[in-house]
Symmetry: C2
Subunit: 652 residues, 2 copies
């Protein structure tokens, strides 16, 4: 079943002009927005339902009742974006057609981006919201504008140090034009906040920083009305509302609030944090929401809700794909069994990082650090100093940057730490640039004694992890693509991981292309096929899993007698593997050097469906083949023109 | 006058075996340690007197009375290292001769490093201490050891978010074997903590996180004895002592506690935060300390203190040096006058970053963020979104890494922010690797729309800043060397900064060397002199202030007809300017390519006197000249052997 229900714009208009109280209007508006949120996420195939639903009553109330002309609202957590979009679309502030294009190019990004109307700031990792608000207020004051800034944060987000870092100066600088709303839904990515890293007495904590703190039911418009009204009288302090909410609020089976918080281990993970519910689940949820809307309408003497339908995007699932995270999960277990000093640290991504099996098997060797990457990496440093081998996990985008200095600090101590960054690279492209880790190689490549590697298939995951474990000297950064990938190659049976070396996986006489990982290496191999069939050119593709190390002898052997070398990074070209390869070639002292060209990202990655984004960045196989052919053609033309008239000898 | 007083080891031994109370012994020991701290700093020519003195009573007490065999003590702030070293030397835990080699190669690093006996962990920027301690305790528990960890922190350090990030999990994980001592001396780098970013009610704040908090006079051994004794009974919580101390305690004129906290502006900066006092000041301080020791000894019926003398290292001051920070200070003022939207943000380094003049002239456009780099950069992002042009300052080592993701996040919003990182590069080498910013180019080079530049002299500072201001599109990272530098060149009168381009400043036919900045460019130019005179080789030196951008046409013109290209980075080779140059050369498609060799750092930089460190890394002019000559010689030999027998044509 691919039909999905949606609420058309005129139904939102009806609600906005209905003769009813502000509270009733906001309630109804939020319910309608929930239906469209579900539509957007189901159509896109991914998105955060739980967090959108927990915050939607607040978003609806603020937009419909609090925001004056110069005021600003934004979410610091960002993954509640679908809910926010649904509300903005319902209000007519975003074009209605955008409802159909969540997580698509030229549509609505997975996380907020200022390129979208009404979106005030981009999100990154968590905790930046209050800081940005302080800056905005400073600027608005200078411009002579009276502005109030409303910032939504998550509650897991409060584990980030920057949240606390940002509190003090707001008081000291009298930044009183800010109201922070903590969407306190009690569940973060992995499980209950209280089980990850309990927040303790939040009112006391935040109050002790000099903020005015109040608490209310954040899913009840009547309470929100009272709460915001009362805050109007507080003008001498920054304000914070702890809004007790329910993740998945509005749909009975998405609401876990009734469950026992201690009911279980990994099996008790909340199911509706991210990802699209299946068709049947979606329909059940919509049915509930429609029933809820209709009973609200009926009380108000209004006609029932009129829905329209849209269709779910059909995406072909990968056939027999390689799943690197699952392979890593197995390899980690094996490594842990062999080495009792191996301990695992996680930053609230136990499932995404493939750690459930380890946690269940070695609970005493598993440390859940919460959304606190700096604390996690420094803890790992302390463990390593005392003889343990910590293996540290998060998404690559956060792990490489937020504790960037901490990784360097550990490296200066000469200890061994293994860092594992998942969700690496351009794809999935749906979450948007805050999650597309295409700068991590550059951000860490200069850390002394830190080798960076990326496997291109499941078997290489195991080999590389074993290599990390057996190396007695270096620290490692293991870069993992998270999406399932179809790969059109198989590494040679006798291939063994060796430092700074890779392996050729196709033959070809005209050019060499280096790449790595299960997203780009397949593009390179497919490009080789196109080149052969469409341009009559032979491309030798080499898999080089080493991102910041290169054996010059191996390199020399691979490129010898080739006029053209191409590199293909799942990363910005600047600071990626390609620059290292080019730099090493330049140092080989070849008398005749190949032309080197880089493929990779040069601009902030687009958000969209995976294949459309690859293509838009000209990194799909067909585009690559075309570029390679053109480069070879142009260079051959140019070289023939420039061929030196005399024998080439050394000038000296 | 170059003689300096020091306390010999046998006087420390006398104190340790004296028949007196633990309190008296600790007091006396701390006084003696202060004398030797002053000796070390005066001899080294730099170091942190104020912070060493405020903490020395605590350090002395802990080492003499609290630490059991498996216990661990370290400082998270790190710049109190001279005081700690003096105590460890007095206790015989460090070799006495190390007293003479603070901030020297093979001596005692400016900030803690695990290469030194008894130093448990390295410091980086502030705020890592508790996190590391938690990791150590986890490891010690696994090893079945009963360990108590004592961590000293600063009070300005509490402005860092990681401090707060690290508090919650200590409680949740029952990490009760930790005692944090906040050296609450009320003065951070710039001025009073309360004026930078007031900490508020610390007891309430930290207590609200579930820690057991007590407060005492941290310069009074008797109070310390009572406080630590009382904490022994608290075994169910992590513990924190707010130790009220006096910066510079022990020497009347270094103690600012009696001054009014609001007495003034920039002129009221504390004088003894860092840097060595002059000879006369030093002697006055020693006289006071000796008098204090002698009166303590006299009360105990002991003979007066017997001192020895050592000498101050004589360093030739630079002749007519270029001072880039001062030049920047002037250029910033000019820019600010021209652009009312320009605002300045600082992270507690107003003097070091050259911002005093701006702050005095434009107090409304100056934001002191405190030691809170993430908060600062995100605030700047908020300001930029609202139309201001924020210019953001800190030391390069911290600015490029701690808010690394935040800089990227701002970049994804397409706004303009200018980042200015001072104390960039290998020198000064005295503070040690936590402050030697040799990874910042790499850490930020891939940020889209962020151009990175480094001026080589005062006039180029002004030109580059003007260029940043006039560019309507890009953000900038301005990398500034802080030490005064003698430069053996003058940029051509008609030189104008152009994107991605530089300028040749010496002629030479055999090779080209690219470099930048007032530390390395002089080495390159002097190396050119050596090469001419000693090896008969001509080196063309090019100044290229662009660190992550390069105009291929300009590059082609500079290297055309040269067989050898050298690059010289004030940075790790990996990810530095040199790799970008090599990579660009490889993409030029030259039929005959030069041999490219990189100079720069490959290992964690050494701590020491500037010239000795340059030499130890083979980056001084003489070493460079030798390496260049050898490279050219070897390559010419090899190329003559390999000269192709046939005309070089394209294979295809």
């Amino acid at each position: 079943m691919s039909d999905l229900s949606l609420v058309p714009l005129n139904e939102f208009k009806r609600v906005q002009t209905m003769d009813c109280s502000a509270v009733d209007r906001s309630r109804l508006f939020a319910t309608l927005s929930r239906i469209n949120t579900l539509y957007m996420i189901a159509r896109a195939g991914s998105g955060h339902v739980g967090s959108s639903f927990s915050s939607l009553d607040i978003v609806s109330w603020i937009y419909m009742n609090e925001l004056r002309c110069d005021d600003i609202y934004y979410s610091s957590k960002g993954h509640d974006a679908p809910g926010l979009y649904a509300a903005l679309i319902g209000l007519g502030r975003l074009d209605f057609d955008l409802l159909h294009s969540l997580r698509r190019i030229d549509g609505l990004p997975g996380h907020p981006d200022v390129g979208t109307p009404c979106i005030e700031t981009n999100t990154g990792s968590l905790g930046m919201g209050i800081s940005k608000g302080k800056g905005m207020i400073f600027a608005r004051r200078r411009a002579g504008k009276e502005t109030h800034v409303y910032v939504m944060t998550g509650d897991g987000e409060l584990q980030e140090g920057q949240f606390w870092e940002s509190l003090a100066s707001a008081v000291n600088q009298n930044i009183n034009e800010i109201t922070v709303i903590v969407d306190h839904n009690k569940i973060q990515s992995d499980t209950w906040v209280s089980q990850v890293n309990d927040l303790g007495d939040l009112e006391k904590k935040i109050g002790s920083f000099g903020w005015h703190v109040v608490r209310c039911n954040g899913n009840d418009a009547a309470e929100l009305q009272k709460t915001f009204a009362a805050l109007k009288t507080v003008t001498d302090k920054p304000k914070l509302i702890i809004a007790d909410t329910i993740k998945g609020s509005g749909v009975s089976f998405m609401d876990y609030s009734s469950r026992e918080q201690d009911e279980g281990s990994g099996d008790a993970l909340y199911q509706y944090h991210s990802g699209a519910p299946d068709a049947e689940t979606c329909q059940r949820a919509v049915d509930e929401l429609v029933q809820s809307a209709n009973s609200q309408l009926s009380v108000l003497g209004e006609l029932p809700l009129r829905l329209e339908t849209g269709s779910r995007n059909q995406q072909r699932p990968a056939t027999d794909p390689q799943r690197l995270i699952a392979a890593y999960s197995d390899a980690l277990l094996a490594a842990a069994e062999a080495n009792p000093d191996l301990v695992v640290l996680d930053a609230d991504l136990v499932k995404d990082c493939g750690l459930l099996a380890f946690r269940d098997k070695f609970p005493d060797r598993f440390i859940e650090c919460g959304i606190a990457e700096q604390d996690m990496v420094s803890q790992a440093g302390g463990m390593a100093l005392q003889g343990l081998l910590p293996v540290v996990h998060s998404f690559a985008c956060f792990l490489s940057t937020r504790p960037n200095e901490h990784i360097y600090n550990n490296a200066t101590e000469g200890t061994r730490v293994i860092y594992v960054g998942s969700l690496a690279g351009l794809l999935p492209a749906g979450p948007g640039h805050s999650h597309q880790s295409v700068r991590d190689i550059s951000a860490l490549s200069a850390v002394p004694g830190l080798s960076m590697v990326e496997p291109c298939c499941e078997s290489e995951v195991a080999q590389l992890l074993a290599h990390c474990m057996n190396d007695r000297r270096d620290s490692y950064y293991l870069r993992l693509v998270s999406i399932p990938c179809e790969i059109p190659y198989r590494l040679p049976d006798d291939y063994r991981v060796e430092t700074g070396r890779g392996v050729a996986i196709t033959d070809g006489n005209d050019a060499v292309m280096f790449s790595y990982g299960p997203v780009m290496l397949p593009q390179a191999v497919r490009a080789a096929g196109f080149l052969q069939h469409e341009y009559g050119l032979g491309l030798k593709v080499a898999n080089l899993p080493w991102l910041n190390k290169l054996d010059p002898d191996w390199l020399r052997g691979i490129i010898e007698d080739y006029d053209f070398v191409f590199t293909l990074d799942n990363h910005y070209i600047r600071g990626g593997q390609g620059e290292m390869i080019a730099s090493t070639i330049a140092a080989l002292g070849l008398t005749q050097c190949p032309l080197v060209r880089h493929f990779g990202l040069t601009t902030v990655p687009l958000c969209g469906e995976n294949n459309e984004v690859l293509k838009a960045h000209h990194l799909d196989a067909a585009s690559l083949a075309g570029s390679v052919a053109q480069n070879i053609h142009e260079a051959r033309e140019a070289r023939i023109e420039q061929r030196p008239a005399v024998d080439m000898t050394l000038k000296s």
